[in-house]
Amino acid sequence: MSSASPSLSRQDVAKVALLSRLALSERELDHLTGELSKIVGFVSQLADVDTSAVEPLAHPLDSQNVFRDDVVTPSLTRESVLRSAPRHDGESFLVPAVLGETGAA
């Protein structure tokens, strides 16, 4: 990746907005395109750091093998599960219809 400031196009930003499930007005789209371009340009300075001999560090800890036993613990009551649901029918959460599709491709 070159360290020249990459710029995001409006189309890029619209695509990211959909991927993030965020509705944007035209004005917000313009504004965000500018802001994100600037921020991405800023963080792109990392391209200049030589990391050819360096592995990524995802966890600050060095721990491993943390498990729990296969023992049942109390679940929430259905009442408290649904209590904060924007819409429910007493048994299930209700969301706008998911028609003819499965989740992940």
């Binding site: 048994e91 299930s92 499965t102």
Partner: protein
């Protein structure tokens, strides 16, 4: 061990080879979910097996179920996979109402196992196929989304009981060559996983789900091979559906290729849903951005290191898998591959029963016949498990032994078996109460002379060279004395007739 080439391997011009790969999701048989202590029992009322973690509430955190990991390793070992010494967890990010966190914790670039295989051999010898396994990884299941089209509402109902259930995802190489093979392979996989105690593989309850990838290789006259675009088939609810769907889809692709000539790479991979009542696959709407899952390492979980000791312990806990058991039974007890297959298909407990029986009887074939014709039949009629079956191997061996000794014939033996089963009494008790006693030689002689005297026609037939006519005397003998041994009656009658 190389599989013998099946007829489906090589297509001649004017036909095609069907290339099939499977992606199987198996729910692990743990008491609790993968990352929390909610129970995994099937059929509970909606949203009653949910906690902050599997509901994805703000602030909730996952903790890995050790038993789930152990079962997954067990499955991978049995599938001859290499277990990675270091494995990690990743987030697969997408939005869907049955995925409350907005991501699924799964494994992306460092699955815990890879590069295995599972062979399926048709017991009647019609085919054998070694199917490579690309990877087996561990991930959490999503909840259930229900849409009642008939009700006409604009809403879907979401039940999160299933969210967080541990799943093993098994991805095969595209090594299968026919719908029949695919179905047989799935049965073999199911048998293996049930034997291991990894899963109950019940498609009706959703503990095993299958997606299939299929395309055709079509030889051209010039020797090159045309390949149709790969289609992913979803929504198959039984192994039979898998077979039917693959057969339908192969035929459909053949028609389409002949009509359009469209080849692999000319269009993105298509997904089609199987409509079982209609018996067809239907194209599903293509989603553009659905493939960008933005995988990254799960920061809430630490990696897992698997040591050589861990693997040794896992192997020790595995037991002999079905394929191995079939071989062992056939060799040890000199029974046919077919017979071994029937026994092994019934599970470890029945195999143990058989082995105990065969050991007492001292011979495999007879024991195997009794297992298949009598034990299995009555077991299926009565229901219940072999462990609860009232006739235990020593009792059955006793009956078989007495038959061999000539105390009575096989059909009499069956009556005794039925009576022991029904009454719970001992074999000796039943034998004596039925008045079964060995018929002594003198009584047999008297009886046979009576029969010979009473059946001049049969005597004439035998003397004329038709020895099998003597069989007609056996039924009459049994009527007079049920305790007679048919073989002895026949021999004695023939002897008497010859002496006439």
């Amino acid at each position: 061990m190389a599989a013998a080439p099946s007829p489906a391997d090589v297509a001649s011009p004017g036909s095609f080879t069907t290339i099939i790969g499977l992606e199987v999701h198996v729910q692990l048989q743990t008491a609790t979910k993968l990352f929390c202590g909610c129970p995994t029992t099937f059929g509970a009322p909606p949203n009653t097996q949910v906690c902050p973690t599997c509901l994805g509430l703000p602030g909730s955190l996952p903790v890995m179920n050790r038993h789930a990991f152990d079962l997954a390793v067990r499955a991978a070992l049995a599938l001859e996979c290499t277990i990675a010494p270091f494995t990690k967890w990743d987030r697969k990010n997408y939005f869907y109402p049955d995925l409350p966190k907005g991501y699924q914790i799964s494994q992306f670039d460092l699955p815990f196992s890879s590069d295995g295989f599972l062979e399926v051999v048709d017991p009647k010898g019609a085919f054998s196929r070694r199917v490579g396994i690309i990877r087996v990884h561990l991930e959490e299941d999503a909840g259930k989304s229900m849409h009642d089209e008939a009700a006409g509402t604009a809403d879907s109902r979401i039940d999160l009981n299933r969210a967080g259930t541990p799943l093993c995802e098994i991805v095969t190489q595209p090594d299968l060559r026919s719908p029949q093979e695919a179905r047989a392979w799935l049965n073999e996989l199911k048998l293996l996983l049930v034997y291991l105690g990894v899963s109950d593989c019940n498609m009706q309850e959703g503990s095993l789900r299958v997606d299939a990838n299929v395309n055709l290789h079509i030889p051209r006259p010039d020797g090159s091979v045309a390949k149709t675009p790969i289609v992913e088939i979803k929504n198959m609810n039984s192994f039979r559906s898998v077979e039917r769907a693959l057969a339908y889809e192969a035929a459909r692709q053949w028609e389409e290729w002949q009509a359009t000539g469209r080849e692999l790479g000319s269009a993105p991979k298509q997904t089609r849903g199987w409509d079982d009542p209609a018996g067809v696959t239907r194209g599903q709407r293509h989603k553009e951005e659905s493939s960008d899952y933005r995988y990254f390492p799960e920061p809430d979980l630490v990696p897992v290191r698997v040591s050589a000791d861990d693997l040794a312990r896992a192997r020790a806990a595995m037991g002999v898998p079905p394929a191995g058991l079939r071989h062992m039974l056939a060799e040890r007890w000199s029974i046919s591959a077919y017979d071994a297959d029937v026994l092994v298909n019934q599970g470890r407990d029945l195999v143990a029963y058989f082995e105990e029986l065969a050991g007492l009887v001292g011979e495999g074939k007879v024991a195997s016949n009794w297992m298949q014709q009598d034990v299995l039949r009555t077991l299926n009629e009565r229901g219940g498990t072999i462990d609860a079956f009232p006739v235990r191997p020593p009792a059955l061996a006793d009956i078989i032994g007495r038959i061999a000794a000539g105390d009575f014939d096989t059909s009499r033996g069956r009556e005794i078996f039925a009576e022991v089963l029904a009454s719970g009494r001992t074999v000796a008790d039943v034998v004596s109460s039925l008045g079964i006693a060995a018929v002594d030689d003198d009584a047999l002689d008297v009886l046979c002379r009576e029969l010979v005297a009473a059946n001049p026609k049969i005597v004439a037939d035998v003397q004329g060279g038709k020895e099998q006519a003597a069989a007609g005397l056996i039924g009459q003998a049994k009527k007079k004395n049920p305790n007679v041994n048919p073989g002895k009656v026949r021999a004695k009658c023939l002897e008497i007739i010859r002496g006439l």
